[in-house]
């Protein structure tokens, strides 16, 4: 009897759960030696979408945990905030921008809305620091209920003098 009740309760909980998709956030790099990971944001901290900054010590930051598989589970009809994270252990600042993202398969794109970093801005990762940006993925009513898909970004590194000469007005200043 107890097993039956537990099983019924389990089914009731499962039916309440929103459908979701596993979204792999992938990256390719051109002239950029650092790597981007995705990370969970500390729940107790206030989250501002598109907040971009850097820190020296992860304990004092908004980042809770780095997700090494770069997969997020996005519930449909809700938004999922998470962080992009770049750890720079070198003594050099790095500049980059992101080419607009592509989806695999293409038809996963209907109803997806990703407030990410491919917005024509140039970002700077300071030396001996970790850079982060809070992003949000929203899968709305038009989304085709695809269980697994990928969002691919290409990161292009820029030289400091190139940024100062051509893209100074596009450089994101926190």
């Amino acid at each position: 009897m107890l097993y039956f009740l537990t099983f019924t309760l389990f089914l009731a909980q499962a039916s309440k759960a929103l459908p979701s998709s596993d979204v792999k956030i992938t990256w390719s790099y051109e002239n950029f030696p650092l790597k981007i990971n995705i990370a969970e944001v500390a729940e107790e901290k206030k989250v501002f979408i598109s907040e971009t900054n850097s820190f020296k010590n992860i304990k004092d930051s908004i980042i809770k945990k780095k997700l090494t598989d770069n997969i997020i589970r996005a519930e449909h009809k809700t938004s999922s905030p998470f962080a992009l994270l770049i750890e720079n252990t070198t003594d050099q600042d790095y500049y980059f921008f992101a080419v607009p993202h592509e989806l695999n398969p293409h038809h996963a794109s209907a109803g997806h809305y990703f407030e990410c970093l491919c917005n024509g801005r140039v970002f700077m990762v300071p030396a001996n620091s970790s850079w982060y940006r809070i992003v949000r993925l929203n899968l709305n009513d038009s989304f085709q209920k695809i269980k697994k898909f990928e969002i691919n970004h290409k990161i292009v590194g820029l030289k400091k003098n190139e940024v100062m000469l051509n893209y100074k007005d596009r450089l994101y200043v926190p």
């Binding site: 989806l103 293409h106 038809h107 794109s109 024509g120 085709q144």
Partner: protein, 171 residues
């Protein structure tokens, strides 16, 4: 008197030289980029075409509509090869036309465009239609959208390919 005429020739030569240098740098600064717009409509019964619009549509960018016979839009020229050449800091206006050859409404969407080469993406802004929205093409009618391509002053890339995939929304 002689030295005076030499000075005059020298002066003219210098002016000619400066003019050529300015012309050279002017041409360098005002480079042209050819954007190749490609559209893949998978297995859909669509005819997809593009045409240049005049600057008269600059306040109508993002407009979509449908027409069956009389086309009352300011078209400057067709783009049979999908190519549009823009100088630095120039904006181009483009119509996308989709003719639905079937007998039913087809709901479709367009995946985010791929840019080749990717590193050129900072050099332009394309206000197109690949924003996750769902559109409807009516049977035997032509659906259109007005788009804007802004070439940045810093763009030095000669050729850029922008590819869109159009797909059906079945639900």
């Amino acid at each position: 008197m002689k030295s005076c005429s030499i000075t005059k020739i020298d002066c003219m030569f210098h002016k000619y030289l400066i003019f050529n240098i300015l012309l050279f740098f002017g041409l360098l600064c005002n480079a042209e980029t050819v954007f190749n717009l490609k559209w893949h409509s998978e297995n859909l019964p669509f005819d997809v075409k593009t045409a240049r619009a005049t600057t008269a549509v600059k306040r109508r960018v993002g407009e979509t509509g449908t027409f069956s016979e009389k086309l009352n839009l300011p078209i400057s020229n067709q783009m049979p090869d999908g190519k549009i050449a823009l100088n630095n800091s120039e904006n181009g206006y483009v119509y996308l036309f989709i003719k639905n050859n079937s007998k039913k409404n087809i709901r479709f969407s367009v995946a985010p465009h791929s840019t080749h080469p990717g590193a050129s993406a900072l050099g332009f802004v394309f206000n197109c239609l690949c924003n996750g929205h769902v559109y409807t093409a009516k049977p035997n009618q032509i659906w259109y959208r007005i788009m804007e391509l802004k070439n940045d002053s810093t763009n030095r890339q000669k050729d850029i390919e922008l590819t869109h995939h159009i797909f059906e929304i079945k639900k």
